[in-house]
Amino acid sequence: MSEETKTVDTARPVARDEMSKWQWTWKEMKKNKTAYFMLAPFLLLFIIFTVLPVLLSIILSLTDFNMLEFPNWKGIDNYIDLFLNDDIFMLAVQNTLIFACITGPVSYILSLLVAWFVNELPPKIRAVVTLIFYAPSISGQVYLIWKTLFSSDAYGWANATLMDLGLINAPILWFEDAAYVMPLCIVVALWTSLGTAFLSFIAGFQTVDRSMYEAAAVDGIKNRWQELWFITLPTMRPQMMFGAVLAITNSFGFGAVVDALCGFPSVDYAAHTIMHHLNDYGGQRFEVGYASAIAVVLFIVMFASNILVKKALAKVGE
């Protein structure tokens, strides 16, 4: 096996010229049989449970499938309905964008800044502080405690404090009042958002070479902000890219938090996001064709925001 690789490696350019592209590919594939065997189990499940659902969504979005009858072809009718005749969908789009445009960037910047602050601490304290910031994101449904803090009676901390100060007379129904639902959900979402990306940033800061800072100081970098912008961030651009992808993904996936805090559907659809709309049609009304169209729209939004953010990140340190 090994000797074969060796000889082929050196001989490859010649051998490759003599063969057609397909012959060469086939030869390489046969040579790497083990690689495919090792990849196969994961790839099979990945295709069945991730790739196939995406393709199926795209196809079904063009039909009126409802889980019972054989689907009829409807072309882009579902999309037309979605954008022109569905007022709640437009509300969901608006809420999703507000939600994502706040939680995405804020959680990203928060993760980055906190990681940067944490990086300057001595190792033992750093471990504790990291835990404090990271804990809410791994502790599952601990966000339910916000329901207690902001409960609709006087035993909730928020109401009790406000009443104590004499600012309000009657308790506020926090999670049942359309005016408070969205801001509260955003706060809770942010509270749980310092997750994997945050750890990645902490690791990123630790890998920056110290001698670069010394060289930079000689070259006229005057303060820590310049140091961050010109030295630190450009060196950890790969981590920032990874963090951005996760931040975007998460900013569209806070549906569970909203459900747990406000119930479903939320009052006056005040925190109704595209994800909820999808759930409503797919999981409850079984209008799968229509739900698939919603899913496809969401895919497009997610990919578009990823591309935009990647372009923006390329400008860091310029």
Binding site: M1, M29, K31, T34, A35, Y36, M38, L39, F42, F46, F49, V51, L52, P53, V54, V114, F117, L131, I132, A135, I138, S139, G140, Q141, V142, L144, I145, T148, A154, Y155, D164, W191, L194, L199, S200, A203, G204, Q206, T207, Y213, A217, R224, P238, M241, F242, I248, T249, F252, G253, A260, M275, L278, N279, A291, S292, A295, L298, M302, F303, K310
Partner: protein, 293 residues
């Protein structure tokens, strides 16, 4: 010229570009944010230790006068009354988590080795697909996922949760990046020269070198499974998870606030303890998590 700049020291180390004002400002910010992050976590623990009369005290207190474990005991009696025994919910969560995590570890590390250390046609395309899958939240797929699971006849079985979780891409991604940066090709090459098969090289040489990545992968998978709540693929009460049960208690409202706090505490202790033990390993893995543009 250089003497114009006054050098500050911290311990015996010279610190460049750090003003005292900046240090103070950052410490202040970090403390403030830290308090906001910490208070709800702290409050849930305090709530779980409060006896009944203190739970209904006005205004609510951030400390407990007579700490008691009654709420934890209540949790068990409360759940004893439900038509599915409490232990069943815990068993479901533990069972699903262990099967899914071990499955993910086995499948993803083989795939990660293959993608990072072997060169074969299609390798880049496959990896690109996996990176793309990180870009969308899996709940988008829920509806079509349901159709696929039901065509296998897996609706309302453990399989509907366990099997898809084995192909979670986050762990694979982290493992692959870590293998690429910390397993030198020369070591693998010399194992091959000694006559080890590719699979043996993977198992005996590569895997022991990436222990931090195993842990990280396991925790990534663990946290999503452990925290999974009610799923649309499961409707039998006896297959539902502990998180689902907690939701039921919490939705009972104020009368159950002690028990629900206790349930949340039980649930959050496990991932937190695992993280505390493995923190340095996880951070080490994250060092190579970067994504090239």
């Amino acid at each position: 010229m250089a003497s114009v700049k006054k050098l500050r020291t911290r311990g015996h180390k010279v610190v460049l570009n750090r003003s005292a004002g900046g240090d103070a400002g950052i410490t202040f910010m970090l403390t403030l944010l830290g308090i906001i992050m910490f208070v709800p976590m702290y409050y849930v623990v305090i709530q779980s230790l409060k006896p009944l009369d203190e739970l209904f005290m006005f205004p609510p207190r951030f400390y407990v006068i007579n700490p008691t474990f009654d709420n934890f005991a209540d949790l068990f009696t409360l759940m004893g009354d439900s038509w599915v025994p409490f232990s069943r919910y815990i068993f479901n969560t533990v069972f699903i988590t262990i099967c899914g995590t071990v499955g993910n570890l086995v499948l993803a590390s083989m795939a990660a080795y293959s993608l990072s250390k072997l060169r074969f046609p299609g390798r880049n395309a496959i990896f690109q697909m996996i990176v793309m899958s990180l870009m969308f939240h899996s709940t988008v797929n829920q509806v079509t996922h349901f159709i696929i699971l039901s065509s296998f006849g897996w609706i309302d079985t453990y399989m509907s949760i366990i099997v898809p979780s084995m192909a979670t891409t986050m762990g694979l991604y982290l493992m692959k990046q870590f293998m690429e940066s910390s397993v030198p090709d020369t070591v693998l090459e010399s194992a091959r020269l000694d006559g080890a098969s590719e699979f043996r090289t993977f198992l005996i040489i590569a895997m022991p070198m990436v222990k931090p990545a195993w842990l990280t992968l396991m925790i990534e998978c663990f946290k999503s499974l452990w925290n999974s709540g009610s799923s649309i693929y499961i409707h039998s009460e006896e297959l539902k998870t502990f998180n689902y049960a907690i939701n039921q208690i919490v939705s009972a409202g104020i009368a159950r606030s002690g028990a629900s706090a206790a349930a949340i505490v039980v649930m959050m202790m496990v991932p937190i303890i695992i993280f505390v033990i493995n923190q340095s390993k996880i951070i080490e893995t994250m060092g190579s998590s970067g994504m090239k543009d």
